[in-house]
């Protein structure tokens, strides 16, 4: 990694707990411009919590979160909202607004933050939907879509404002293997065509190997390993090995 290049996102010693139960206990991670980092870890280990800190949905108990060198943890609301316009986020359950049509979902950010006319917004919505492989679904309601289609609409919504960063919360969970791979291709495609910096959290190793430039493992509230997919496979850390091989026996307890 080029040492001179500044990390776009830098997480320094981040702590967060809920109801006196610690979840993040000193997370350190730096993410460079244009790279795709996949954070792996067991369900409930705090991956989504970490992701939500990066976009300011959660505030840490302690620690820093630098974006372009600025600590965003103390940002007031309006500054945070400006920052969020540079981000897109795909939620685990897609989190589409079910009172709106697909096109309205995708165009919502544009209609609020730009001066575009309804026609222009609809055009962009159709274009983004086409990028994720959906045509002619603009007027459907989220309830009429399958799980995979919902995720893709969620992705179209996340890229509608041409973000610099995309956060993916379990992009492939709950999808059939073919649809999961289609989503993986989309993630790669977005990185290559739009040069987007991506952070994904997942426990789907097939997806992690395919999309990641680097894989980081979150375990017991800390990043215990970070490296390329190749380095991950060859890691001599027993925790990493147990996780990536999906074994029930090893240093990670199955009961907590």
């Amino acid at each position: 990694m080029d040492k001179k290049r500044k990390a776009m996102i830098e997480i320094n010693d981040l702590y967060k707990g809920f109801h006196n139960k610690p979840v993040l206990e000193g997370v350190n991670l730096a993410i460079q411009k244009g790279e795709t980092v996949v954070i792996i870890g067991r369900s409930g280990c705090g991956k989504s919590v970490l992701l939500k800190h990066i976009i300011g949905l959660l505030k840490p108990d302690k620690g820093q979160l630098l974006i372009d060198g600025e600590d965003i943890t103390a940002y007031p609301k309006d500054k945070l909202n400006q920052l969020r316009q540079r981000f897109g986020m795909l939620f685990q359950g897609a989190a589409l607004f079910d009172s709106m049509t697909v096109a309205e979902n995708v165009g919502l950010g544009l209609s609020e933050h730009t001066e575009m006319t309804e026609g222009q917004i609809r055009e962009i919505a159709a274009e983004k939907l086409k990028m994720v492989g959906l045509v002619g679904v603009e007027d459907l309601k989220p309830a009429e879509l399958s799980g995979g289609m919902k995720k893709r609409v969620g992705l179209a919504r996340a890229i509608a404002m041409n973000p610099e960063f995309i956060l993916y919360d379990e992009p492939t969970t709950g999808l059939d293997p073919i649809m999961a791979d289609a989503i993986n291709d989309l993630v790669i495609n977005l990185r290559n065509t739009l040069k987007i910096t991506s952070i994904a959290v997942t426990h789907d190793m097939a997806s992690a190997y395919k999309i990641a430039d680097r894989i980081a493992m979150l375990y017991k509230g800390k990043i215990i390993f970070a490296g390329t997919p190749e380095e991950t496979k060859n890691s001599d850390n027993p925790v990493v090995q147990q996780f990536i091989q999906g074994r029930s026996q090893g240093p990670i307890p199955t009961l907590e």
Binding site: R84, M89, F91, Q92, G93, E112
Partner: protein
């Protein structure tokens, strides 16, 4: 809840730029509640006539029946019963809707799009509650008095002339305004409690059920308490 109210007041002007969201909520809260409000009001007026006639017995002349029904309906029964009907119908649905949005991360999603959920979800519901509850109360007052009149004429043997004369005798416009003032307060309570409980929902479908119950209980209690406070300030 104080933070929610503060954010609500700061964002109140956004109602002017999101007129369609406000009118949509007005339709849901006001127009769609009207049939139920009319139905309950007919019986409210009827029962207040029957009850007043029984309490008058032989001590108070029946020409005051219209006065009693009118005062009871306009000051107390119209606003409070309408508010309680709307609590059951609207406050519950606000909490269930926003609570579901919360647990399915739709509210988080809104924030990641740099949209303020208060502006988008709370302000339209608050404005709709604040404006539409008084409108519903006016309908309720009118229909309840008609209900009282009908019962008096058909079942209590009092002529409509006597009833309406009694109604007019001590009729003060300030009573109607007092009732409407209550309605403004009740409408605000319903919207704020509904949104607040929706936003603090946690834990899936069970959590949505729990906060909906909590919203209905809290809103009903607050309606009754604030009713007492306003009544003692205005009429005490």
């Amino acid at each position: 809840m104080a933070i929610l109210i503060k954010n609500l007041l700061i964002n109140l002007p956004s109602a002017l730029t999101h007129v369609s969201l406000v009118t949509e909520q007005m339709l849901i809260m006001g127009v769609n509640s009207l049939p139920l409000v009319v139905f309950t009001s007919i019986f409210t007026g009827g029962v207040s006539a029957v009850q007043a006639a029984y309490q008058f017995s032989d001590y108070i002349p029946m020409r005051y029946l219209g006065t009693a029904v009118g005062k009871a309906v306009v000051i107390e029964l119209g606003p409070v019963l309408t508010a309680l009907v709307v609590v059951g119908r609207v406050c519950a649905s606000i909490t269930a809707e926003l609570g579901t949005m919360k647990v399915t991360e739709q509210i988080d999603a809104m924030e990641t799009l740099a949209l303020d959920p208060v502006k988008y979800l709370v302000v339209p519901r608050f404005v709709a509650g604040f404006v539409m509850l008084p409108v519903l109360v006016l309908f309720s007052d009118f229909v309840a008095i008609l209900g009282g009149l009908a019962v008096s004429v058909f079942f209590l043997g009092i002529s409509s002339y006597t009833f309406l004369n009694g109604l007019k005798m001590f009729f003060h416009l300030s009573d109607v305004f007092g009732g409407l003032l209550k309605a403004f307060v009740f409408g605000s309570i319903i919207a704020i409690v509904g949104c607040y409980q929706g936003f603090r929902t946690e834990g899936g479908a069970e959590g949505v059920g729990r906060s909906t119950t909590r919203a209905v209980v809290l809103a009903s209690v607050l309606v009754l308490i604030s009713d007492y406070i306003i009544a003692s300030l205005l009429f005490g």
